[in-house]
Amino acid sequence: MSQTLIEFLAHHAQTKPQAPALRVKRLGVWETTSWAHLKEKVEQLAGGVLELGLEPGRVLAILGQNAPEWVISELAAQTVGAMPMGIYADAMPEEVGYFIEFSECAGIVVSDEEQLDKVLPHLDKLKFVLVWEEAGMSKYWNERVRPFSSVLELGQTEKNRQAVQAAKAQVRPDTVALLAPTSGTTARSKLAMLTHAQLIAGAEAGRETISIRGGEWVFSYLPLPWIGEQMLTVVRNLTDGTVVHFPEDVITVREDVKEVQPDFYLAPARLWEDTAALVRSRMEDADGLKKAVYRWGMGVLLECAQREFRKEPIGFGLNLARALAYPLVARPLRARMGLAACRIAATGGAPLGPEVFTFFRALGVDIRQVYGQSETAATSVAHLPGDTPPETVGKPLPNTQVRIAEDGEIQVKGGQVFAGYFKNEAATRETFTEDGWFRTGDAGFFNENGHLVLLGRLKEVGALADGTRFAPQFLENRLKYSPYIREAVVIGHGKPFVTALIELDPENTQNWARKRGIVFSTYQSLTSNPQVYELIAEELRMACETLPEELKVRRFAILPKELHADDEEITRTRKVKRGTVESRYAALLAALYDGSKKVKLTLPIRYLEGQGTLEAEVQIADVGRPMDEAKVRA
């Protein structure tokens, strides 16, 4: 049994040298890297970066889109006992600067010119910068900035080969193998240190959920610094011997996934929701026959899926209808999404609304929730095969203990729990309880079947003025199921009733407006349209229909702009930063509770490299019948 990721690599290279490890679409053709070839490249790069000054224990930063070179760089760092650190490819230049400075990385590997531009101002702090997309880049080459391939050559000298072997011999299971940025919805993200043993423990714990046995095709398109993608693309690739496929370009992901049709698919909640919303709105716009077939077929499939969840019998007639609906509706849809071969899929990052869950289940895609953080190698609680109630995130995984603290916080203990934050002792101390459990900062409870139900961030679970407990995230997920709502921020802590800020789904709402001949010019003009307000009011009413009266959203306003990571309103993985949103839109929040009908906003915004302000008048509307004025004032 291999103890480190590097030993897994050596094991595969020895037992199945010619089997494919990685594939990437380059110049229009899928190129394969075999295990033997991968190991060879990793060791060459390791030798090269050693020569250039990477020492064991130092950091090697990686910045770029997913590609084999990303993985090779990471494994090369691990081979010599250095710590790889991924930076999100869409990070702003000053974020990149912060990470370079904070991690004191010896060098950085970047994908292309766009990323190199972010690094060049910090060249004096780096020993080397490697670029893997080399075409057209010769004007940059110098002593420090080098083409990736030249460093592979550098590593082939006898001296460097020996240096690599010597360094590799020092790598232990408790050597730090990865610096994973935390999601940072609250502040500047921290770097969680994960050792080989912890990453492998995480992969072991999740094995049954993922149901991977080796040789499966996997598609790697989510940002690699994100721990979920790390576990799938790098760790599970090594522990289970999957074949990882990389897209040709960020904008060809949807096309490339159709060519790959992976066996296993990972997507954050956001993407599943987007896909479901897209299918629904496209079918709304389809011609009569298609629409009718879809309505009927999807109805049948959804009914079957719901009965299965409730463990009710399906019955002969319905079963027959499903046998017809499946090839007519489910198969074509799945092929379009690149999910034709995929039976098992996973979601993580944020809780997924039950409706989306059922939607994909009806299409025959078995989505399993995986709950975890960077600090727990993305695996602590998950659905197991055949036991996937959509409203929960599943049961604690093997060799993992999970408990609920007094205040409702979820706490975890297990082999996959991280070693501490990089250069941040204070935060490390704070995040562990006295008896050594990791505090997730999330609130939840176990239901009668031993399944964990997530409520949201502990800090955000609150109570209305009358003491009713409510979890904003829980409500937000319900609202986001509407195809016209991309993001919702639900407010109510210490308030007399629940309100919401709505971000429209631009594409679906625009299509809706166009079909009805509603005139609009920009996104902003769409957000102030009275008919759009009526649409959203109706969507909110339907989403809250089954909720207790006091938890229903009573008032809302549509945000005049899309939430954007450059304005720090959402993270790079599209999680809303509540604090920022609440402070940026404070005037709007106040207006939701003081009875005003409209409010003027002046927002500083950033676009491209510039800054500006956005002036907007935002309307406030009630859901259903207008609110009783007396209650509003209360």
């Binding site: 380059r26 110049l27 229009g28 053709v29 075409a135 057209g136 010769s138 040709e248 904008i251 060809t252």
Partner: protein, 251 residues
Amino acid sequence: MSKVLLEAHDLHLSFRGVKALVGVSFSVSEGDLFAVIGPNGAGKTSLLNVLSGLYKPQQGRVVFLGEDLAGQSPQQRVRKGLGRTFQNLELFRGMTVLDNVKLGAELAVGGYTDLMPKAQIEWKIRHHAEEVLDYLHLSPYRHVPAGALPYGLQKRVEVARALAGRPKLLLLDEPMAGLSLEEKQDLARFLLDARREWGVTLVLVEHDLKAVLELSTGVLVMSYGEVLYQGAPAGVRENPRVAEAYLGRSA
């Protein structure tokens, strides 16, 4: 001084009474980025048409790589390494981007001959075309019909097709016209990269004076078929005749 690649000697061209070119002479050295500028109707495109062989000048000679090109068809000139792009797009709109670029690539590979297996030639052409697509960041659009792309990308495809032939010298007719600032910057970057890494000499007709002065190594200013100025880009602004032609007499 690097070697002279293209020379024009005393070119005269007229359409009936209209004089398009009046005694135009200049030379372009290897590795130059040579810009031809001038107001509308100055004869810039006529000059490119003469160089690429679409028009036959009444008088004067075009010498490329030391060889007089008189009597050679545009196709022959292209095969000698004298490529060009057009001001108004001349792409095959119904063909995919890849097919358009493969047409160009055929030149560099040497086309279909009987000596090599077809599949092997096809593979070489495809590979060559893909390299250029990658270089110009066009790979994501390879299977899109060229006519379905936005204008800025079509311009880039046109440049890609010309570059795929690996010309020694590329004549570009207003490659930046109608592009946004960002598209212009991208295209300028690609052209400079191609010049540096593939050693392509560029002759460029351009309206955008700022782009020309920033990029070029040599400038030819024309007005009504005559040469007003020839030399380093820095001298253009100071030249009184250029100022007059561009800005009017009072300036």
